[in-house]
Structures are given as structure tokens and as C-alpha cells.
């Protein structure tokens, strides 16, 4: 393992400490492993919280900020935070108008967030709702879409729900819009090399030099095939085909597209993928709104990329374009 760190056990806490002192106007850490907006909850505004393991920056903590999230509970690398940390995030996000829990569909996170919701309901009378991201199209068949994992689609859901909350919508309305955004997202990933969890010290999977894996999840969950690496256009083609098969688009439809690095893949290669993905959308007569190309949802230093498409109507487009600001992204 070659990593810039001190003690592997301090990896997450030192990362959070660094983030907060680098951007004190955006982030605060009122409780260990819980990041909230520097200014605290906004009175009268619906709060939005998320949570999950570390190792995915800017997901999850990075997206705390105006027009985005209010608070986030963060666990060890690729490990769920505790229910108490999640409950604390909900309390810190509560401005008296209720709190939406918006996060990815992973068993441990779901159990703990459900517990956290019960805790704050009993102790603090905070009303909460839940929307889960299930955008990874290869993680379960379409008939079992509710079992799919949540990946980079979270970025769009955070943005859209965050804008609705900032605009003063009530909890039911923010929840409705967040669910609509989640339902409109489809993602797929591919990987070339694994990453190493600091406390484990060895790679999350093995892959031969010269091979790629299509469909891999952001923790190294197995994908759908592994074979010799293909040219970028063929990779983009297969990814786009799988996304469009799952959510067919008609001529005149609008989407936003996120071409995302899993960590080590450079922006150069993302643009090579984007270029071909755009050709596919152009050919289908689909208009691209606010394309995103960069590092939005990572898996430590994994080499690889994900593509997310979100189908937009006027409502989602307006919310996507509304102002937002965090250390990693400004709209």
C-alpha cells in the first residue's frame, strides 16, 4: 500500500479535520464524524441529510453546502456510520420543518438510517422522510430495480432536492422532488484498477494488467463482464446502450449527463468518453443540459469511470440549474 497518511486508523478523522479547516466558511464538524453547514440549520427550511462510508469524496460530506445538503454522517472508509451519528446529523439539519434522509441503497446504511429516524422521532419529535438512490443499472435487473445500489446519481438528487429545500418547499414536496430525481437517474460504472482501504492495506479486488471490468460498483462490487480493455468509444457505446435500454429516451427529451472519475482516471480520459457519449445523445435527438465531467463520486484511487444520465422535465431542470455552493462544486 502506498498512501499519503499518518496512521491508517486516523485516516478519516484527519481527512475531515483538513476539510473543515480548509473551508471553514462551508463546513463544520460539531460532533465527531458529522459534518454540517458552517452556519448550522436554517430555521424554517427542510433539512436534507445523507450519510455513508468515507472514500468517495466529494460524496458524501463534500456536498454539504448552500443549495445542497445540510448535514452528513460519515463512517470509516466504505463502512456505514452509526445510527447515533446519523441521528446527530438529522438533529443538526433540523430547522423545524422536518428532515429528508437522502442516500444510497446499501443494507447497513438503510438499517442505521431507519434506526436514526426512530431515535429522533422519539427523542426530538423531528419528522423525517427517506429517499434512496438506486441508480446503478447493472446491480439488479429492471424488475428488481428497488434492489439496485445507489452511485453517482446521488449528485443530481442532492442538487435537485437541495434546490427545492432552499426555495422553501415543505418536507412532502422536497421528498417528492427528490424521489422524482432519484427515479430519473441511471448510472453504470467500469473499472481498470482497484483501490486500497487504508485499514485493510490491500486492494479491494484483483484485475490483470490489460483487463477492464464493466459494471463494477463503487466499492469494487463485481460487474457484468471482465475482458481485455477496449477502445474508449466502444466502452462509451456499451455504457450508453445499457443506460438507454434501461430508460429509453425520445427525440426532443432533455438530459443532464455526468461523466465521473472513480478517482485515478484523469479528466482527459473523461472528455474522451464524454465526446462519444454526446454523439450517441445527438444521434438520438436528445438535448444535453448542464453536462458534468470530473470527479464527483469516487472510490479512493480506483481507475475507472461512471456515466449517469438524468432525464429532465422543466421542474427538474430548473432545480438543477438553481444556485448551489460547496467546496467541490458551484452552480
Amino acid at each position: 500500500m502506498k498512501k499519503i497518511l499518518n496512521n491508517p486508523a486516523d485516516y478519516v478523522d484527519e481527512m475531515l479535520e483538513g476539510m473543515v479547516v480548509a473551508h471553514p466558511e462551508i463546513y463544520a464538524q460539531p460532533v465527531r464524524r458529522v459534518i454540517a453547514r458552517a452556519g448550522g440549520a436554517t430555521a424554517g427550511k427542510v433539512g436534507i441529510v445523507t450519510g455513508g462510508g468515507s472514500g468517495h469524496l466529494p460524496i458524501f460530506t463534500g456536498y454539504v453546502g448552500k443549495g445542497l445538503l445540510d448535514a452528513c454522517a460519515i463512517g470509516d472508509v466504505f463502512a456505514s456510520p452509526s445510527a447515533e451519528q446519523m441521528a446527530e446529523a438529522i438533529r443538526l439539519a433540523d430547522g423545524g420543518a422536518g428532515v429528508l434522509r437522502l442516500y444510497g441503497n446499501y443494507g447497513g446504511d438503510v438499517m442505521n438510517f431507519d434506526m436514526a429516524g426512530e431515535m429522533v422521532e422519539m427523542e426530538n419529535d423531528i419528522r423525517t422522510t427517506t429517499v434512496l438512490l438506486t441508480d446503478d443499472v447493472v446491480s439488479a435487473a429492471k424488475e428488481e430495480a428497488e434492489k439496485r445500489r445507489g452511485v453517482a446519481g446521488m449528485v443530481y438528487a442532492f442538487k435537485i432536492a437541495g434546490a427545492a429545500a432552499e426555495a422553501g418547499s415543505d418536507l412532502d414536496e422536497v421528498t417528492r422532488v427528490a424521489q422524482k430525481a432519484a427515479d430519473s437517474c441511471r448510472s453504470i460504472g467500469m473499472a481498470l484498477t482497484p483501490c486500497t482501504i487504508p485499514q485493510a492495506g490491500k486492494p479491494t479486488f484483483e484485475i490483470d494488467e490489460g483487463e477492464m471490468e464493466m459494471g463494477m460498483g463503487i466499492h469494487g462490487e463485481p460487474g457484468i463482464w471482465r475482458a481485455a480493455i477496449k477502445p474508449a468509444d466502444e466502452i462509451a457505446d456499451e455504457m450508453m446502450t445499457r443506460l438507454l435500454d434501461d430508460q429509453p429516451l425520445a427525440r426532443g427529451d432533455k438530459v443532464s449527463i455526468l461523466v465521473n472519475s472513480l478517482g485515478a482516471t484523469p479528466a482527459e480520459e473523461l472528455y474522451i468518453l464524454f465526446r462519444h457519449a454526446k454523439k450517441r445523445l445527438d444521434a438520438a435527438g436528445v438535448e444535453i443540459v448542464m453536462p458534468l465531467v470530473g470527479r464527483y463520486a469516487t472510490s479512493m484511487e480506483m481507475t475507472g469511470a461512471t456515466i449517469t444520465l438524468i432525464k429532465l422535465d422543466d421542474e427538474l431542470e430548473g432545480l438543477l440549474k438553481a444556485p448551489a455552493h460547496c467546496a467541490f462544486w458551484t452552480v
Binding site: 452509526s82 447515533e84 434506526m115 426512530e118 431515535m119 422519539m122
Partner: protein, 197 residues
């Protein structure tokens, strides 16, 4: 009537009894899982026993659920916490509960645990033990409840010894799990035995 002082006393007993069963539970778990169940259970009850319980029985039970979550994020720890949380919801706002309410609280805990664990009865898990206890307590006088719970939990362990595990990591062992006691059911037996120790 059972107040939060009585609950704290019971937790102390369970903590002592499960601490003594740590090795036994770890070794039963080691045969089918990762071998840390004894630590999960003993650490969880030790933390709960050390907690400062509020007088409101509901909030006291919530505190126990939180203590369990704090020290043990394993699925067994989460299930135990879920059970206490379900009982907590039903007793919020009361400074004491009538023993006659216990069967309903156990039933609520069982139902919440089944829902959270996404398990079914008959899968050879702690849920079968909870179900047996809930059924055994129905209509009983307070004095007989602890003995009935111990008998039901013990009978569940023996009944399922000859059956295969169908849920969680132990499921991977399939037919090989026949003849082995389910560690989660055994842990539940040690927990209810603790009430009498």
C-alpha cells in the same frame, strides 16, 4: 410494576451472565460466521448496564438501544437494538410498566426485528427464539414469565439444532449447518437466563 431502576438491575444481571458466555458464543459463531457474536452481546449489555437510564421507561429502553448500537454495529447488535427500540416506542411517557404488558412488548420487538432483519420465521435465527418467547408469555402471570422465556428460548435452540440455517452468512453453510446450534438463538437463551441469574 417495572420501572427503569428495575430495568437497570436486570441489565446488570444480563451483562454479568453474557460476559461469562462470551467464549461459548464466539465459538458457536465461529462455526458458522465470523466468531465475534459473544463479544457483540457481552459488550452491548455491558454498555447498556453502564448507561444512565432516564425515569421514563420508553426513553430508558431507547437508551439501551442506543448503547447497543454504539458498541456493536454488527447485524445482531442492530437487531437487538431494534427490539429495544420497538419496546421503547410502546412505553414512552410511562414511569413504570405493568408485567402484564410484557408479552405485547416482546411481540412488538419480535415484529420489528423480523421487519428490519428481512428474515422469516423458520430460517434458524434469533427471530425464531423471539417468536417462541412471545408465544410462551401470552396470558402468563408475572411470576412465571422468566422461567417460561428461558424454557422457550432453550427449546428453540434444540428444535433448530437439526435444521439448516437459511439466512445471513450461516446460510452459505447449507446442510453443513445441520447439527450446529444457531449462535443467535443461543445468545438469546443466555440473555434471558441472565434475568434469573
Amino acid at each position: 410494576m417495572i420501572d427503569s431502576k428495575a430495568i437497570a438491575t436486570a441489565l446488570g444481571r444480563i451483562a454479568r451472565h453474557t460476559a461469562g458466555a462470551t467464549d461459548e458464543l464466539c465459538s458457536a459463531d465461529g462455526a458458522l460466521g465470523d466468531g465475534d457474536l459473544g463479544i457483540t452481546v457481552s459488550k452491548g449489555f455491558a454498555e447498556a448496564a453502564a448507561a444512565d437510564l432516564p425515569a421514563d421507561v420508553g426513553l430508558a429502553l431507547l437508551e439501551i438501544a442506543k448503547a447497543f448500537q454504539r458498541v456493536s454495529s454488527s447485524s445482531y447488535g442492530t437487531l437487538v437494538a431494534t427490539g429495544f427500540m420497538a419496546a421503547a416506542k410502546q412505553s414512552k411517557g410511562r414511569e413504570a410498566i405493568d408485567p402484564a404488558d410484557i408479552p405485547a412488548l416482546v411481540t412488538a420487538a419480535r415484529d420489528a426485528m423480523i421487519q428490519r432483519g428481512k428474515g422469516a420465521l423458520g430460517d434458524k435465527t434469533v427471530l425464531d427464539g423471539m417468536d417462541a418467547i412471545a408465544r410462551a408469555l401470552e396470558g402468563l402471570e408475572a411470576a412465571g414469565m422468566i422461567d417460561a422465556a428461558i424454557r422457550a428460548a432453550g427449546a428453540t435452540v434444540e428444535e433448530y439444532r437439526g435444521k439448516p440455517n437459511k439466512l445471513g452468512r450461516a446460510r452459505m453453510f447449507g446442510e453443513k449447518s445441520i447439527g450446529l446450534v444457531d449462535p443467535g438463538q443461543l445468545a438469546l437463551l443466555r440473555i434471558v437466563e441472565g434475568l434469573k441469574s
